[in-house]
């Protein structure tokens, strides 16, 4: 008995799989589910950039309530955003942005706009961090907050990389990631999140998600920009601004959820893979045929 599978059989099998694979992949759940479920039960926060005066009370309140120590910071690039990045002990950052070019002939602020945005974990409706965590250390609570279990986290960093805003941060002392919890311990007591409770201008407002999305839709109708209604399938923190969110370095995201994003990559990769696989098989086959032809002509020449 020969222990070789003929090249022809293999190529036929490969060809058949080329045909079958796309059909199988078509059947995959593309994960683009209706982005929001049970709106009424979920709590949310609306962040109105037009009301923010940049007092940083929310940033401090977060530190105080969550007993997060201060960290050494530096003022760089003439920026007031400080610190610039989330860390295991900085869950809330007020981002400062000077927009426009100063024109001394212009009235008022000389054409400059000074805007601030209170930034933290967005408590996504379908969180990427929860989706990718191999340890089930993160979960979305039915009333909104995205929480985590320090004891389950293995510190792989996948959530940091997958989060659209790089929010969860590894804590070297605790050996786990940490981030904003939406003050779930306050919510449980019927209180607002700490940052919301101290905002002097009501730039941060705590309400239910359905209402928050209505507020955002109304703002859009008034020509304002919103962030978090559609992005990554929706978030529990919804932002309203009179300047585009790209000014604050918030990337543009489609409505596709993490699961939808993953299946999209997988389907396209399978397509590319089948194409490349086919090309390699064809190249190998051509090479083998050429070699055979050369050997044949060589042995014929020798006769």
């Amino acid at each position: 008995m020969t222990d070789k599978v003929s090249r022809k059989d293999f190529l036929m099998a490969a060809g058949a799989s080329l045909l079958v694979a796309p059909m199988a992949l078509e059947g995959l759940d593309r994960g683009q589910r209706a982005p929001v479920q049970h709106l009424g039960e979920q709590r949310a926060v609306v962040v109105d950039v037009t009301r923010c005066i940049g007092c940083k009370a929310c940033q401090i309140a977060c530190k105080v309530w969550n007993k997060l120590p201060a960290e050494k910071t530096e003022v760089s690039d003439g920026e007031f955003t400080n610190p610039k990045f989330f860390s295991p002990i900085t869950w809330k950052i007020v981002r400062f942005k000077e927009i426009g070019d100063y024109d001394e002939d212009a009235a008022g602020t000389g054409g400059l706009k000074w805007r601030m945005l209170s930034d933290n974990c967005k408590h996504c409706l379908e969180p990427s961090c929860v989706s990718v965590c191999p340890a089930a250390a993160l979960w979305k609570r039915s009333d909104g907050p995205v929480l985590y279990d320090l004891d389950r986290c293995v510190g792989c960093g996948y959530c940091t990389m997958a989060c659209p805003w790089g929010v969860p941060r590894f804590d070297d002392d605790l050996h786990a990631v940490r981030k904003c919890t939406m003050c779930h311990d306050r919510i449980d007591q019927g209180l607002e999140p700490s940052c919301v409770s101290v905002c002097p201008t009501d730039s941060l407002q705590y309400m239910n998600l359905e209402e928050a999305r209505r507020v955002a839709v109304d703002a859009e109708a008034n020509g304002l920009y919103t962030y978090g209604v559609d992005e990554v399938g929706g978030t529990s923190w919804i932002y309203i601004s009179d300047v585009p969110f790209s000014e604050f370095g918030l990337p543009e995201y489609s409505t596709v959820t993490q699961k939808g994003f993953e299946s999209d990559i997988l389907v396209k990769f399978a397509g590319a893979g089948l194409f490349v696989g086919g090309a390699i098989l064809a190249a190998v086959k051509l090479y083998a045929e050429r070699r055979e032809a050369i050997m044949k002509s060589g042995s014929e020449g020798g006769n």
């Binding site: 293999f10 293995v154 510190g155 997988l266 490349v276 390699i280």
Partner: protein
């Protein structure tokens, strides 16, 4: 981003995972289609795959930083299948390890012909999955636009096959010297130098095809992904990126071309030595590729 979450350890993990998949794929394909002539390459591939999977798991443990929860976390990771890509990878690597060990046992100590072929076929699926996983795990990171491309897993898969084949080839003369008795067939093969040279000639052709495909995929990846500029110029890793292209892709192609010329002139020792240089460069390039993609992505996070 303030600091790199994933650095050299993660790059090593991805490199070894891809290489393990590639080495097993070659081992199985050679066993299925080349039969006894190339038995030594099949054995070498299975051995390389076994060692690389074990090494990658060790590196992952070092990367995740929490040894105290390691046993539990592996259990948790198994249970998160197929939700998290890292869980998928944990399953793939574990199954590939089992298949590689079984193949090594069957190959060195003999076993049923049919069992070996079935293990080969199962292993081909697992090895391709493992190599693809090392790219998909990055592409799923929505926060890193530089990784969010279907060409990245394709690139890593091809690079994994290339590095796996390369290390399996490189291990043959190395193993022949280190363990001449234990790996008798390696030694015998090395004694029959001409046949190793013949094998170099054949495999280099395949390596050239894979390298050209890798170059095409790299171009497609770089051409279709936002923020590619970070690797092309200016950043701390762009120099390394060019080293990868020069030493990991172009130099081995050149060596392969030279060797095909020398093949007809009987310069056996030259062929073996230059092939080894090319092989080391391919491996170095494979690692640098993972490293620059990892760091490049996080630079623009």
């Amino acid at each position: 981003m303030s600091e790199f979450v994933w650095g050299p350890l993660m790059a090593t993990y991805l490199f070894l995972g891809g290489l393990a998949g590639g080495a097993y794929l070659i081992s199985a394909l050679v066993d299925l289609f080349k039969g006894e002539d190339y038995e030594v390459l099949s054995k070498s591939g299975a051995l390389v795959s076994t060692v690389a999977v074990i090494a990658s798991v060790v590196v992952l443990l070092l990367e995740i930083k929490r040894f105290e929860v390691a046993p539990l976390s592996f259990l948790n990771a198994f249970r998160q299948f197929p939700g998290s890509m890292i869980s998928v990878g944990t399953w793939l690597l574990t199954c590939l390890l089992v298949v590689s060990v079984v193949t090594v046992i069957l190959a060195f100590f003999g076993g049923n012909w049919l069992v070996r072929k079935i293990v080969d076929v199962v292993g081909i699926v697992l090895s391709l999955g493992t190599a693809a996983y090392t790219g998909l795990v990055l592409s799923y990171c929505r926060g890193i636009p530089f990784w969010g491309s279907p060409f990245l897993p394709a690139l890593f898969t091809v690079s994994g096959i290339l590095t796996g084949l390369t290390l399996a080839m490189l291990m043959i003369p190395v193993a022949a010297y280190i363990m001449p008795k234990a790996l008798n067939s390696f030694w015998e093969l090395y004694e029959r130098k001409a046949s190793y040279v013949g094998m170099i000639g054949q495999t280099e052709k395949y390596c050239q095809v894979l390298t050209v495909v890798e170059i095409v995929l790299l171009a497609l990846y770089m051409g279709t992904t936002p923020t590619t500029g970070i690797l092309l110029g200016g950043s701390s890793v762009s120099l390394l990126f060019y080293v990868y292209i020069a030493l990991g892709l172009l130099l081995p192609l050149g060596i392969g071309y030279l060797n095909s010329k020398w093949e007809h002139q009987g310069k056996d020792m030259m062929i073996v030595l230059s092939a080894m240089i090319g092989q080391v460069m391919v491996l170095l390039g494979g690692f640098i590729l993972r490293y620059v993609v990892l760091i490049g992505g996080q630079l623009i996070h």
